[in-house]
């Protein structure tokens, strides 16, 4: 049997536990077993730091690490950042009921787990078994670390034939390698062979993943549901259900699955990001907002920290603000917008030197102000965006289009027009041209709306001077644009009625009034213009009767 003192002697070991006593007791035990290079960490944040700084052979982490990240998150982050070699071991120490929660997924599973409570002897036995297995498969792990996956597969297949007692660990490795090489059929068979003998949940999930990748998404989903029935805490099954549902064009159901996963295990940053993305696309902004907020919070001191989480969070908040009606709780709205601006502030501090991110930040900030109806601050943000854009050596087409949009939103039509023209002149491809044309159309509508507003104001001032003929001319011109609103149309009607009443009956004007009423359509009783509408309508009907129509 393996000599544990020799095996541990040259290993660099990291022990992670938030409780002092548990930490020192585990350290004492591992020292007694022969380890000489032991580091400790008291929480997930410190653990991740250490893992980024040093190359560990063995990580022994408690699952529960207090308020921050848990052991699973530390593991996921280490794997995500490629800080754990295949030859390294990540062992999760769990309470007896947590095993279901940490059981192996495809990518982010611990190599082994140890169940609490354990005595020194129990730890010794367990470590001996784990290290002995690891030693047997060492050549395979070395091949994987060297990037020789074909060689690793050949070795693993040969070993599987010769040593059936290693079927579980070898199936794990082989399944992963086949999936990585997109050899789904072979991966499926490998899992299948194990399942014929052992009801292993992760192999069942692996099988489902293979089925999906081979095109049979329905069977994959059914298999995952079945696995979940037996192992309701197996979150990765929900993750895969979501991925599959999304590929089947069912984003709402995909979101539901991810929400279930997040309810079970809320600390995984990547999962929160995925939920945020899907919910945002589904238009479920409160869920998106909460997911990105968690992604920001959980990722703040991790390698997952990315500006895009902040930007997407602000986007989701902005959508919520834009969609909220007058009845919404104003305190809640204020809290919401405060959070958004706090995120923007954090972006400014943490990514100050990165112009691309700063540009996106200014654009997003401007849109948020617009959503709050604060045009002054919106314009200021657009100005800042303009300054950053000028600093950018090679602004992308997308950035310039965003700038144009910001100009339009802040009524800077001339600048918008110039930028669009500039883009057109620079010679862009067909899809870009379509985007430019769409923006141009928006811009034109804006200009027209502005123009009708000017005409309307002119009409009002003529009307106040009782120059009804000129008023009618101005309002008619404004009403000629199909974008003209109810108020403009009512103004035009009122001017025409006043003209008739002060001069003479004019059938042509009455017919115009009739057309305008038709354009207005129905005005509801609750509408503030209802009274005026009713009054004008009655006068119009009276005049119509008087004219004998």
């Amino acid at each position: 049997m393996l000599n544990i003192e020799q095996a541990l002697q040259n290993k660099r070991i990291l022990i992670i536990d938030d409780l002092v006593q548990a930490r020192s007791s585990l350290k004492k035990m591992v020292t007694l077993l022969g380890a000489t290079q032991i580091d400790t960490a008291t929480d997930g944040r410190e653990a991740s730091q250490r893992i980024m700084e040093h190359e560990y052979d063995i990580v022994l982490s408690d699952y529960n690490l207090g308020r921050g990240k848990d052991g699973q998150q530390v593991l996921e982050e280490a794997r995500y950042c490629n800080r754990l070699k295949s030859t390294a071991l990540f062992i999760l120490v769990t309470g007896e009921n947590a095993v279901d929660m940490v059981m192996g997924a495809l990518e982010y599973e611990p190599d082994n787990y140890i169940t609490k409570p354990f005595t020194l002897n129990m730890l010794r036995e367990r470590l001996i078994r784990i290290l002995a297995t690891k030693q047997e498969i060492l050549p395979i792990d070395l091949a994987i670390d060297a990037g020789n996956h074909d060689e690793a597969i050949t070795m693993a297949t040969a070993m599987l034939a010769g040593k059936p007692r290693l079927q579980i660990p070898l199936t794990r490795i082989l399944g992963k390698l086949y999936l990585r090489q997109k050899r789904y059929q072979e991966a499926l068979q490998t899992y299948q062979k194990l399942l014929e003998k052992r009801p292993v949940a992760w192999a069942q999930m692996g099988q489902a993943v293979c089925l999906h990748l081979l095109g049979d998404s329905r069977s994959a989903l059914a298999l995952l549901q079945q696995t979940l029935l037996a192992h309701p805490m197996y979150v990765q099954c929900h993750d895969w259900c979501a991925t599959i549902l999304l590929s089947m064009g069912k984003p709402l159901k995909a979101q539901q699955e991810l929400q279930k996963a997040v309810a079970i295990s809320p600390k995984a940053v990547l999962r929160q990001m995925e939920l945020g993305r899907i919910a945002y696309n589904n238009g479920d902004f409160p869920v998106a907002e909460a997911a990105f907020e968690q992604a920001i919070r959980l990722g703040r001191y991790s390698c997952y920290k990315t500006s895009s989480n902040y930007l997407k969070f602000v986007d989701a908040v902005r959508q919520s603000l834009a969609n909220s009606n007058a009845q919404a709780n104003s305190r809640e709205l204020r809290q919401l917008s405060d959070k958004a601006f706090k995120a923007i502030e954090e972006l400014r501090q943490d990514y100050a030197g990165e112009d691309d991110i700063m540009f996106a930040t200014c654009i997003t900030e401007g849109k948020t102000w617009q959503a709050l109806g604060d045009e002054d601050n919106g314009r200021l943000a657009a100005q800042r965006a303009e300054e950053v854009l000028q600093r950018l050596k090679k602004p992308t087409l997308d950035q310039q289009l965003q700038m144009t949009e910001a100009y339009i939103d802040t009524q800077q039509h001339v600048k918008a027009k110039n930028l669009l023209q500039q883009l057109k002149d620079s010679g862009v491809d067909e899809t870009a041209l379509q985007q430019i044309n769409a923006l141009e159309e928006n811009l034109n509508k804006m200009v027209i709306r502005d123009h009708t507003a000017v005409l309307n104001t002119q009409g009002v001032s003529w009307y106040e001077k009782k120059d009804f003929a000129n008023a009618v001319a101005a309002f008619d011109e404004a009403a000629a644009y199909e974008e003209a609103g109810i108020s403009v149309l009512l103004n035009a009607i009122q001017a025409k009625i006043s003209l008739i009443e002060t001069t003479q009956m004019d059938i042509g004007q009455l017919k115009d009034c009739y057309r305008y009423f038709q354009r207005i359509g129905k005005v509801g009783e609750t509408d503030e213009r209802f009274e005026r509408y009713e009054r004008l309508k009655n006068t119009f009907l009276r005049l119509k009767r008087a004219a004998g129509l």
């Binding site: 007791s25 409570p117 129990m122 579980i168 037996a230």
Partner: protein, 210 residues
């Protein structure tokens, strides 16, 4: 759902407290002169017993809730060693023999199996045994056999068992072991328990896991 969570939390804390108590007692034992150990040992024994009982209660509760007990590669030699470690303090005069090959391998939930073994060892001790032998056979599935030199099963129990599939009267400990065995298995087969008296005296219990 809340009720179950509350029960689980209480039991969890109970177990943690007992574990801490055991650690303190062990440490005290290490520091106190040998001649006083006889005073401390009964406390340690009872605490161990309480801890085993709590673990049993927790497992029963989880079974009642129909929770899954994840299974994995496991080594009977280790599991038996752990069970002996958990009971040897309580029964200091009991002689153990672990006849299992170190490389013998199984597929089961280690915690549950250890609890089953602790229960069987306790039964043996209470039946007046002075020796307990544990062996394993992993040729087809895994069979773990616990034998002792105690007074054996009451013939009435053995007879009644032949006439009924119910477990009443076979002793609650044995019933618990049966529950654990039945938790293991695959699509074709479930685990089961066989027991009886040895020709040379004493009892045997075999746990068969497919």
């Amino acid at each position: 759902m809340k009720f179950e969570q509350l029960v689980a939390a209480v039991i969890h804390d109970l177990k943690n407290q007992l574990q801490a108590l055991l650690d303190y007692e062990q440490e005290a034992l290490a520091r106190i002169p040998k001649r006083y150990h006889s005073h401390l040992r009964p406390i340690l024994q009872r605490t161990t017993r309480l801890k085993n009982d709590t673990m049993q209660m927790m497992s029963l509760f989880s079974m009642e809730q129909n929770q899954q007990f994840p299974m994995d590669d496991a080594w009977p030699f280790d599991t038996v060693t752990d069970a002996i470690e958990a009971t040897s303090l309580q029964f200091p005069t009991l002689q153990f023999e672990n006849r299992i090959d170190e490389n013998s391998q199984g597929f089961y939930n280690e915690n549950l199996l250890q609890l089953a073994l602790v229960t069987l060892i306790t039964n043996s001790a209470q039946a007046g045994a002075s020796e307990v032998t544990i062996s394993a056979d992993d040729q087809a599935g895994l069979t773990l056999t616990v034998e002792d030199n105690g007074h054996g099963f009451d013939p009435a129990i053995l007879k009644r068992e032949k006439n009924t599939t119910k477990n009443e009267g076979t002793g609650l400990g044995l019933y618990f072991v049966q529950l654990i065995a039945e938790r293991h298995g695959n699509d074709q087969q479930r685990g089961r328990v066989e027991y009886g008296n040895r020709p040379q005296g004493g009892a045997f219990v075999s746990i068969y896991l497919p």
